[in-house]
């Protein structure tokens, strides 16, 4: 039954409105809309999250390249590309802004020169139109429910103090 290999989407999560969108993993889905819903259920069962994006893995052009170059997205014409930077081996890719270019290769070259002043290990560019983003206006409906589930956190359970009480009671018994 070969129906389980849906396209892969990278997921970018923003924890605070003044923070970056950071890659937190990937998800499989038949389309971007479903990918965003799945991403919410997999990566935002707990706060914090204020915004979530998904990006089809096959829309990404990488530098340094890995594997054969991807086909361009239609005829060369000016369009917006989103740029993602992996600053070092300890950090995931984060969104670094958009730029305009005629082709993906041009966008990648431009991103490389824009990032020349900083150190990084990998750059991604992808047509900004390929990103599916959660709506700022829907943020409460999308991410609010994670806030009112305190029982999803270890701090909700007072097992340590209960155990300490039992331990000292049993020590008293033995004494």
């Amino acid at each position: 039954m070969n129906d389980t290999q849906w396209p892969r989407f990278y997921v970018f999560k923003q924890d605070a409105t003044d923070g970056p969108h950071q890659n937190c993993g990937s998800i499989h889905a038949p389309d971007g809309e479903m990918a965003l819903l799945n991403a919410r259920d997999v990566f935002v069962r707990r706060p914090p999250c204020v915004s979530l994006w998904v990006l089809p893995a096959d829309a990404i052009h990488r530098h340094p390249p890995s594997g054969p170059p991807l086909k361009d997205h239609g005829k060369p014409r000016p369009r917006a590309y989103a740029v993602f930077v992996k600053a070092d081996h300890r950090q995931p890719h984060h969104f670094a802004g958009e730029l305009e270019a005629d082709t993906a290769q041009e966008a990648l070259d431009q991103a490389v020169s824009e990032q020349a002043h900083s150190s990084w290990v990998e750059l991604w560019v992808a047509p900004a139109s390929q990103l599916v983003r959660s709506d700022r206006e829907d943020a409460d409906a999308w991410f609010g429910p994670a806030d009112d589930k305190p029982y999803r956190h270890g701090s909700f359970y007072h097992t340590e103090s209960a155990m300490r009480k039992l331990m000292s009671a049993s020590a008293d018994d033995e004494a």
Partner: protein, 319 residues
């Protein structure tokens, strides 16, 4: 000596790779790695992912029978977490070139292994508490170690899993504490659950170090940083004093405190039972796989509908 594509010898690549690990660097998806490192990781990570997925079955069976709304919400949230953990882990395996299709196929066809503990049945409500307390407690010890492993995506997945699982362990421990201080019936029920889950939990850590031929290589490559026996001993040392304080007994007449090593030393583990269950002859192996396949088949129409919707949306709108 085999020459690699960039002209350097494989031996020097391995030496450089092992030096990176010795320096505490993380290996990332695009980096050079020995084939065997990749193979071992895919095996471990996919088994770990399958365990999260199959692990939903014994607990999911009790969601409708939870004794109150609070316990029901907690159990729902926990089972949902396990599904998410499976997702994190399949993703980590995919970064090594494994495909989701192959991994799911291996699970459903019965070729893949998953944690042996899930081949035991959950007979009473107390089992849900003991699973959280024992099984998740044991899993957290293992995953805390793996959160420091040399492969970046697997380390990060485990870090996220550990942060979320602290609640899994604590909700179970809370239940066991309550039941152990409850009515005679509740105490008997939780003691029975402890008796049934103690030994299978000790087996979760895997064979003794002397019988784990892969361990030294996994330790050298920074995939494991503690051995099966070390982790098992930590678990026993943590649990025995707590169980005694609750007035619960451990089903092991040979268990004793060894002053010289400051350890609680358990009696002999029945490895015949372990291998029998691993090879498919546990109490509910067949039922687990049948349930998993049934769930996959039952989901077929949902997957088909989603695909049809996506295809329709991708077509240009009629004018």
């Amino acid at each position: 000596m085999a020459e690699s594509t960039n002209g350097r010898s494989r031996d020097s690549q391995v030496a450089e790779f092992e030096a990176r690990i010795a320096r505490g660097e993380k290996i990332e998806p695009g980096d050079w790695m020995p084939d065997d490192y990749r193979r071992q990781l895919i095996r471990m990570i996919s088994q770990h992912a399958h365990s999260e997925v199959v692990g939903m079955l014994p607990e999911g069976a009790w969601i409708t029978r939870a004794p109150n709304l609070r316990r029901k919400m907690v159990l729902l949230a926990k089972v949902q977490d396990e599904a998410g953990h499976g997702e994190y882990l399949y993703h980590a395996a995919e970064t090594l070139g494994a495909s989701r299709e192959e991994m799911i196929d291996e699970l459903l066809s019965g070729r893949a292994k998953y944690s042996n503990i899930f081949n035991y049945p959950t007979l009473t409500w107390a089992d849900i508490g003991v699973i959280g307390y024992f099984v998740d407690g044991a899993a957290i010890l293992n995953q805390t170690m793996l959160a420091r492993c040399s492969y970046g995506p697997y380390a990060r997945a485990n870090l996220r899993i550990c942060a979320e699982e602290s609640f899994h362990m604590k909700q179970g421990k809370e239940m066991v504490i309550r039941l152990s201080q409850g009515s005679p019936e509740q105490r008997a029920m939780v003691q029975d659950a402890v008796n049934r889950w103690w030994w299978p939990t000790l087996m979760m850590f895997g064979p003794h170090d002397a019988d784990s031929p892969n361990t030294p290589q996994l330790v050298r490559w920074g995939i494991k940083t503690r051995t099966n026996d070390e982790l098992r001993q930590t678990f026993v040392n943590n649990l025995v004093p707590e169980l005694r304080a609750m007035g619960l007994s451990v089903p092991d007449p040979d268990l004793h405190y060894d002053e010289a090593s400051d350890n609680w030393l358990p009696g002999a583990i029945d490895w015949d039972e372990f291998w029998r269950v691993v090879k498919g002859d546990g109490p509910v192996n067949d039922q687990r796989m049948a349930d998993r396949r049934q769930a996959h088949e039952d989901g077929l129409w949902v997957r088909q509908a989603l695909r049809a919707y996506a295809e329709k949306q991708a077509q240009p709108a009629p004018t």
